[in-house]
């Protein structure tokens, strides 16, 4: 289902759309308060953007530097060209351990690679330990938001879900009790699973360490209790120096949820005695994106989700309408890089209002890239023929004033060609909106009478 159809379905429930919009707007407001408490906020964003700029131009060198330092620390480094290779690497580590069960803390990369279904097919049971991810996992859904995976679920609905899966009392919707039930259920998994996967927020080239940010401490629980820690990351997550964390950690959570910092910012530098630590670097289209000059900066993304929370379209269409692991504005500029045909609708799921670019902590010009993707998609034939024909007709009329005037005469041209003004029930404009009323004369006609000699 394309974005427009999914969004229409989402909007059928008016009150729920209101609730979804207001919930995320509240997060945007929390972000605003946190940002406005930092006078140097805009300078921080600029610094972060510049650091990432340097990372993208020196990516190969930083990756090699990281690998060298990580290996020195006793971490095993793997390289995956695409999602499939990533999944195979993870499975091979599990097999070498003879393990068929594991815990995983939040990682959008593993979502992007569809690791869970792959492992399930290969007989491995994965338990997501981030509360939000656990909820969507129990519900058999993908996350709808990169930071708040179950933001589309109401607490009463979670109560029903937990009653079914975790045996909480029927009708219980108390967040504290529900969280407690989830925690108890997860504790057993933490204690018994021998392998833990985590994502990576930042990998420091200079030291070969990586940093994982969570609010629930579930990454730490998983990694510290397991014999094997596998960290999966996209190659763009590298930063040059440890001191740069001072910039990114200040920006990340303020942008994401309005907190000054995540509850846990855990540094993993070397395996403890007897533990194995692996890191899997994944390309999966990133070097292609790096080669597309106008879209390169999308790789600066630190996955804070701020662009989603502020996006008026995301708030009113929900994460699943983007049919991609990463939803919202950033998803709409990342997804076409992975598959133009499947994701040709996403760059059009925007009014180009530009709010996303303004909240982005690394200053990605998201809305300009949406515009650029439209051009690329259209030129490469990913546009319906009818649209192309009507655009060609429009171009012919608009570049010829005589034809334009002829077809003018109170709006005939505009009526026939502007997408928003055909007065019949088939036109989507008219479904829920009135038409402007055509006046007696156009401005051009008035001007001719009143001003021209």
């Amino acid at each position: 289902m394309n974005h427009a159809d999914a969004a229409e379905k989402f909007n059928k429930d008016f009150d729920r759309t209101t609730w979804h919009d207001e919930t995320l707007w509240w997060v945007r407001q929390k972000r605003d308060r946190a940002a406005f408490a930092i006078p140097e906020w805009e300078a921080l964003r600029e610094t972060a953007s510049q650091i990432k700029h340097n990372v993208l131009s020196e990516l190969d060198n930083y990756l090699i530097e990281f690998e060298k330092n990580a290996q020195k620390n006793g971490i095993t480094v793997h390289w995956a060209a695409d999602a499939h290779e990533h999944n195979e690497i993870v499975l091979s580590i599990l097999k070498s351990q003879g393990v068929t069960q594991m815990v995983k803390s939040k990682s959008m990369l593993t979502e992007e690679c569809h690791l869970n279904p792959y492992l399930a097919e290969n007989g491995v049971e994965v338990v997501d330990t981030d509360l939000g991810e656990r909820i969507v996992q129990l519900a058999g859904e993908p996350p709808s938001h990169i930071v708040l995976p179950c933001i589309h679920w109401k607490k009463e609905e979670i109560g029903v879900l937990f009653h079914k899966h975790l045996g909480t009392p029927e009708g219980c919707a108390d967040p504290i009790l529900l969280t407690h039930a989830a925690r108890e259920n997860l504790r057993e998994k933490f204690l018994t699973r021998r392998v833990a996967i985590t994502g990576v927020n930042f990998a420091v080239a200079e030291t070969g360490e990586f940093v994982v940010c969570t609010n629930e401490g579930n990454a730490d629980m998983g990694a510290h209790l397991a014999d094997v820690h596998i960290a999966c990351m996209g190659i763009e997550k590298i930063i040059p120096k440890r001191e740069h964390l001072g910039v990114f950690l200040r920006l990340l959570t303020r942008s994401a949820t309005g907190q000054p910092i995540t509850t846990y910012s855990s540094h993993f530098a070397k395996p403890r005695a007897g533990q194995e630590m692996h890191i899997v670097f994944v390309d999966n289209g990133r070097t292609t994106q790096l080669g597309r000059e106008e879209f390169r900066n999308s790789l600066k993304c630190i996955r804070c989700g701020a662009c989603m929370n502020t996006c008026p379209v995301y708030r009113r269409s929900g994460g699943h309408s983007y049919h991609n692991a990463v939803a919202g504005p950033i998803g709409a500029i990342l997804a076409p890089n992975l598959d133009m045909t499947k994701n040709a609708d996403l760059p059009f799921a925007s009014t180009l209002c530009g709010s996303c670019s303004n909240v982005c902590p690394v200053k990605i010009n998201i809305h300009e890239q949406l515009y650029e993707w439209r051009q690329v998609l259209t030129k490469s034939g990913h546009s319906p023929m009818a649209k192309t024909l009507s655009m060609k007709a429009m171009s012919a009329v608009l570049s010829n004033p005589a034809v334009y005037r002829l077809s003018g005469k109170i709006g005939r041209f505009t009526m026939a060609n502007a997408p928003f003004v055909v007065n019949n029930s088939l036109n989507p404009w008219f479904k829920q909106r009135e038409m402007p009323e055509p006046p007696k004369e156009s401005f051009g006609e008035w001007y001719k009478k009143n001003r021209s000699e």
Partner: protein
């Protein structure tokens, strides 16, 4: 000062009074204004749909219509932004550059070029401003709520010069109305929902007259208001600044 008046196609066809108010305002401040009769459109409907490559002829026409003026002024932030960002012509790049760098949205022209500090306008109503995204985030006629930076608003500064007028404070200062060009039909459900939410913010805060610098957004909001039979009237800011 020779000013070329650029009236976007839908304003020409549906809102002649907005063109007239813009013209009269500019004349009031001593501009020598002409409306080149051969103008059609800025090309944005095609470009935003992914067909910028079909806008060459449109660009050529725009340049020949407007390159001789000191300034080009339009009552539509969105069209102005499109020209500023995308008007090029291999053969006439010097003229194209002149047009790109001398085209202004009406309120920024009044504020930055004419440096208007006084208006003889009277409008005794509660007015709510819809701050269109392209004017704001594109042309910076007002500060953006996302940025940690001092607030300002050129349209509101002008409206504050109008006697009797009371500005309405909204819950969401600058959220998009959902028009978005072809978005308004391609993503009808979300577009309308965004429009409803914008309008409700105005209703809730007591707007009598909803105004703005971009007639396309206003046309969309007016469509929603009229269908829902709400007690709000929509007027372009030029009409208010030109009222007596």
């Amino acid at each position: 000062m020779k000013v070329g008046l650029f009236i976007p196609c839908y304003v020409d066809q549906f809102y002649p009074q907005v063109g007239i108010a813009t013209l009269q305002l500019l004349e009031k401040f001593g501009c020598e204004v002409s409306y080149p009769a051969k103008q059609t459109c800025c090309g944005q409907p095609m470009a935003n749909s992914g067909y910028e490559h079909l806008t060459h002829d449109c660009n050529r026409l725009f340049i020949s219509n407007f390159s001789e003026y000191d300034y080009i002024v339009s009552p539509s932030g969105s069209c102005v932004l499109h020209i500023k960002d995308h008007l090029h012509d291999d053969k006439r790049e010097v003229e194209a550059t002149h047009v790109r760098t001398h085209i202004y949205e009406l309120t920024e022209f009044l504020t930055d070029i004419l440096k208007v500090e006084n208006l003889e306008a009277h409008f005794p109503h509660r007015v709510g401003v819809h701050q269109s995204c392209h004017g704001q985030r594109g042309l910076h006629v007002a500060q953006m709520s996302e940025l940690v930076a001092p607030p300002f608003s050129k349209p509101e500064k002008l409206l504050n010069m109008v006697t009797g007028l009371e500005l309405v404070k909204l819950d969401r200062l600058d959220e998009c109305c959902g028009f978005g060009g072809t978005f308004c039909v391609a993503e009808e459900a979300v577009s309308v929902r965004m429009g409803i939410d914008r309008v409700d913010d105005h209703v809730k805060n007591g707007t009598q007259i909803l105004t703005g610098g971009d007639m396309s957004c206003l046309m969309h909001l007016e469509g929603v208001i009229r269908r829902r039979q709400l007690p709000i009237k929509v007027m372009h800011i030029a009409e208010i600044l030109n009222s007596k």
